[in-house]
Amino acid sequence: MTTAQAEALDERAARAVVVREAWAVGIATAAYGISFGALAVAAGLDVWQACFLSLVMFTGGSQYALVGVLASGGVAAGPTAIASAALLGSRNAIYGMRMASVLGGRWWTRLAAAWGTIDESTAVALAQPTAHLRRVGFWVTAAVIFVGWNLTTLIGALIGDALGDPRVYGLDAAAAAAFLALLWPRLKRVQASAVAVAAALVATMLTPVLMPGLPVLVAALVAVIVGAFNWLGREERA
């Protein structure tokens, strides 16, 4: 076997590994679209509105945040619900900056890339060693999640619609657990853990005094302040 053939074989094997990884992450993630669909309907959205969010917004954290605020504050909390979703979605802008150099191309490629830029597609892509494998990881993960997430959202919304009062089934606790599961992998550093505890305390304590949705936004200021001054952060020398 020549070196070129060996390299081609290695490349194909590496590609297969990435594709398998992307499918695994994609299916695991898409599965919880069921809980999103059910929670959205429980929060007062209809089946079409739940599906619209998964189709267009397509970023789980923001979708959960939007329906979470609407569940406690109703339509009156609309502006704060929108602000919560947008702020939580701001991390996708950071992912986009990281992915732009890997996924460059025509405007429609960039549009599709932006749409598919979420935690999981970025994470799978950035874990790969070469630019080609990063592209494979990104597109396969994004495509599997997009199709799966939209299907499971529809199923969850239809089931949720048939269920009735969500509290009987513990769906309110399920939403809290979903946020916790999204947060968990981000708590590796002291700074992040401290911000999490402080933000949860601030939001809970402000709940009786501010209208629904606002406590969450005020708690976000904890991140801005701690981040700007880098309190509890690692020493960074210029």
Binding site: G61, A85, A93, G170, L171, F179, L180, L183, A199
Partner: protein
């Protein structure tokens, strides 16, 4: 606002965030404060949502079946249980306690 207006406005805002990442010059990311705040913002918002989703009942702060459910969820996450298991277990704990009380 109607529910549709909220759904559409929030979707546009989130898609705009995604697009912004592909339009902004990569220099911005090199500012350590910007990337630090962006990461901590996600942490703070998720934590705040956990607090509200666990303790708020309308504008009241209450201790109910959601608290043990979230504690069970945390335990399962510490044991590296998959997302869907964590979410279903929390729902079962809360539903079980409510059915018994």
């Amino acid at each position: 606002m109607t529910m549709w207006q909220i759904v559409i406005a929030a979707s546009i805002a989130c898609v705009a965030m995604k697009m912004a990442g592909y339009l902004v010059p990569p220099r911005v990311l090199q500012n350590p404060a910007v990337s630090r705040i962006a990461e901590l913002l996600t942490v703070a918002l998720l934590a705040a949502l956990i607090g509200v989703q666990t303790f708020a009942h309308g504008q009241e702060v209450v201790l109910d079946a959601r608290v043990p459910a979230v504690i069970v969820a945390a335990g399962l996450l510490a044991l590296r249980a998959p997302f869907i298991v964590v979410v279903i277990a929390a729902a079962l704990v809360a539903a079980g306690i409510r059915a018994l009380l």
